[in-house]
Subunit: 193 residues, 2 copies
DNA sequence: AATAAAAATTAATATACCTTAAGAATACTA
DNA sequence: TAGTATTCTTAAGGTATATTAATTTTTATT
């Protein structure tokens, strides 16, 4: 069933009653997207937060010069959205696109606010989710500042082996902040990978 | 009084009763630190989250090669901690040091858990706090990937003018991920700043 | 006020990473 | 299945930023 994964994801941090499960799942919309479909377009409103049942998504910022910067990848069991645009009803600074055919559960901000007000447990759950997201992003900043590109690549492949299987080298390069050509020379020197 | 600022900070997002204020403030410890005092040492446990009443703090990671990377600055009305170490009772990956004499309110994790369990409003407050921290950090990642050093410097001084007044150029350089020498040449070209 | 220490500046040289370009390998599409 | 587009790879040359070092300015200490 489509809700097993999301319920076990939430169940890691809070325990829900049957009624709470019913209320919560009634707010979810199941979505199927094809490879290369846009889940979110940059500069448009971001109405939903998405949970990945399966597949792979990529969030990327497109600069005025046409340069892509990958903000994050998401695979099964991950949540993804443009958090600023989502929580402030602002226009988004990133695109979210399917790397492969994917199945998502979408939750609108309007519904999330209803959930928060009726089920305070979800405030706790999202607090924990955001705590982990913040820690992850802060660690990324530290590593961007303190490590060379080859070191960042090594950490990436050992930290996210499942993502490495799904996305192109070019996309990894744009996450690490190097050109695909330079990532290639990095890999040529790493005899192993 | 020492609690005015923190209560107005919290009051922006949740409304507290008098009893809740009393309960919450009873968990805070007032601390005074002198310039260059360590509030947190890297590799040690991080027991507290800190709210700045006044002064300036800097969080920085020290690599094995001795290179400093500034993770964040905090001025009056900001919260600061090593979030990973704090929430997981893990050893910290950063130092937090006073840039100038500062007055802090410290809240231990043990007490924060008591507050969360007794006052669910504080789950909401921290959810919002973490949401903003995550968005800020994600934006920083995007800018590190997509902008040149001079552009990053321009954004920094226009986004954080109050911090610019308090910290050294060297510290700003280590936040931007450039050497102090290079920041200097950037500034020399910017006729204005 | 004098001295020491740290930060800021400037400049020469070095290097990590980028740009451009072209060919080879994979992956899509008709 | 061929044809086309995309990604990956390799290499030459270029640029942004680092390194080293020396000087000046600012800040801290006695």
């Amino acid at each position: 069933m489509s809700y097993d994964l999301i319920l076990s994801n939430i169940g890691k941090y809070v325990v829900l009653t049957e009624m709470e499960v019913t209320f919560f799942t009634s707010k979810l919309e199941l979505m199927e997207v094809k490879k290369k479909d846009f889940v979110l377009h940059q500069n448009e409103r971001c109405k939903h937060i998405y949970f990945l049942n399966n597949g792979t998504l990529r969030a990327f910022h497109l600069s005025t010069e046409g340069k892509e910067s990958t903000v994050m990848f998401a695979i099964a069991d991950w949540w993804i959205t443009d958090m600023h645009a989502f929580t402030n009803n602002a226009s988004s600074i990133m695109n979210i696109m399917a790397v492969e055919d994917s199945q998502l559960l979408a939750l609108s901000y309007v519904n999330l606010e209803r959930i928060w007000s009726q089920l305070p447990k979800f405030e706790k759950f999202f607090r924990i989710l955001l705590q982990k997201a913040y820690v992850r992003e802060q660690l990324r900043s530290i590593q961007n500042l303190s490590l060379s590109a080859p070191e960042r690549y090594d950490r990436f492949i050992s930290k996210y082996p499942e993502i490495v299987k799904k996305v192109t080298k070019k996309q990894i390069a744009s996450y690490l902040g190097v050109t695909p050509e330079f990532l290639c020379t990095i890999r040529a020197k790493n005899v192993d990978t």
